[in-house]
Symmetry: C2
Subunit: 286 residues, 2 copies
Amino acid sequence: MTAKIIKSKPFVEEIRAEIEKEIENLRTKNLPPKLSVVLVGEDPGSVWYAESKAKLGQKIGVEVEIHRLAEDSPEDDIVSLVEGLNKDSGVHGILVELPLPGSLDKTRVTNAVSPEKDVDGVTATNRGYVLGGQEELALVPATPLACIELIERAGFELKGTRVTLVGRGDTVGRPLAMLLIKRHATLTVCHTRTVDLAAECRRAEILVAAAGFRSLIKKEMVSPGTAVIDVGVNETEDGGFVGDVDFEAVKEVAAAITPVPGGVGSLTTTLLMRNVLKAMQLQGLP
Amino acid sequence: MTAKIIKSKPFVEEIRAEIEKEIENLRTKNLPPKLSVVLVGEDPGSVWYAESKAKLGQKIGVEVEIHRLAEDSPEDDIVSLVEGLNKDSGVHGILVELPLPGSLDKTRVTNAVSPEKDVDGVTATNRGYVLGGQEELALVPATPLACIELIERAGFELKGTRVTLVGRGDTVGRPLAMLLIKRHATLTVCHTRTVDLAAECRRAEILVAAAGFRSLIKKEMVSPGTAVIDVGVNETEDGGFVGDVDFEAVKEVAAAITPVPGGVGSLTTTLLMRNVLKAMQLQGLP
């Protein structure tokens, strides 16, 4: 049996329809949502991500302003820019494109963003709300949110389900672990030090791969009936992208699988825009 | 074979010796460590905990000042008191005894504490550092720390080890999950919605019970060779305390087991005092 391919496109459209209604409503109240993106240096990935946010913003009615700073900008200048954006009541969301050029203190720069404008969910405060299970107070990072939306909108049950999550990074694995536990999954977290990764993956009813290693999850690691969510984005030699899952082989055995591209990653920019609207709520707007 | 009983007493003594040296050093620099405890109402558990902190403080040289407020104190008064303590450079650690009387907003009161004085590790900021794996920046709550110290000082390896954690509360389970992942455990988190709790427990090389249910972990749920860490503190009819593990039965099968009392709980006050010293470091002292 070949797995059902879970593309995110229909869910992207669903969620956009939900937020476009809200954006229209805010515009009639003279509160056009605005996102400020801080882009330091010329990292091609970061430039591409920033521009794709601007493009989507234009499409759905969120103003996206990109602040481009030179690679060698002093840390204090970046922090000052962020602090100015914090104070600007016309700016509702702020994000600093990562990775930052090498010498900059990522913790200091990201924590300079006011928590209620931190639409990337990278400040200690928002992470703390996620740890505490207080998602209603938090801006949750878009990628873990995208995993949850894909799983739930595709009709998979998390309550009481055995989920194996491969990966424990600070932007996806760790916050996603908290979201999964809150939704009552029985969760196993694996990583590079896990002794028998294949066995842990085979136990999973839902397997989430968020390790950042191309073809880490092979056919023999997946049981029939498992739903496989691939969060990986790994560049190939020809400039394309593949996930953490050996897609062609695993789709022969899994019950369902998300593609890369066209899966988790394609949902994130839309969920980032939804975070701008949530940020406005947290700021008491309208 | 009967399990090795892992009492915390020798580790309590080890850690006290470590911190007493540091306290002496601080006193010679005219920086006597000081902890302020805010105690609202007359909850007997809270009164007992506050007094046991004062007692230990007196023994090892940390000044513990208890601020007693009436049960019906307005929330604003409590927050004002905390804000005053934040500003007082002679106070290095602040904690608000929980639970607070019913009508008070726990999130608001606990987050009023300045993160670098939050020795209970309950502010969103400290929780966020724990989520992000940035323990060096964090004040980590004493109970999850006590589990880690007990496991490591008793000589058990966490790296690559299959750990099953039963419980996902915001003060123990969730932060402890992050600490275990950081120490390279392959971690499974179980809770009330887990379908086959016995099977998940039997898989564990180390089993941590932090659910808050008396006798939840029974003999048939534990495999020979497993080390069992009991975080539960459940009151009995006669006013005593028992853990989450059916101690008498489980000790017949486990390789090692921590008692209640005399296990995890007996380490926490000492680790709280260590947090006062870490708080001073975070404040740039000496």
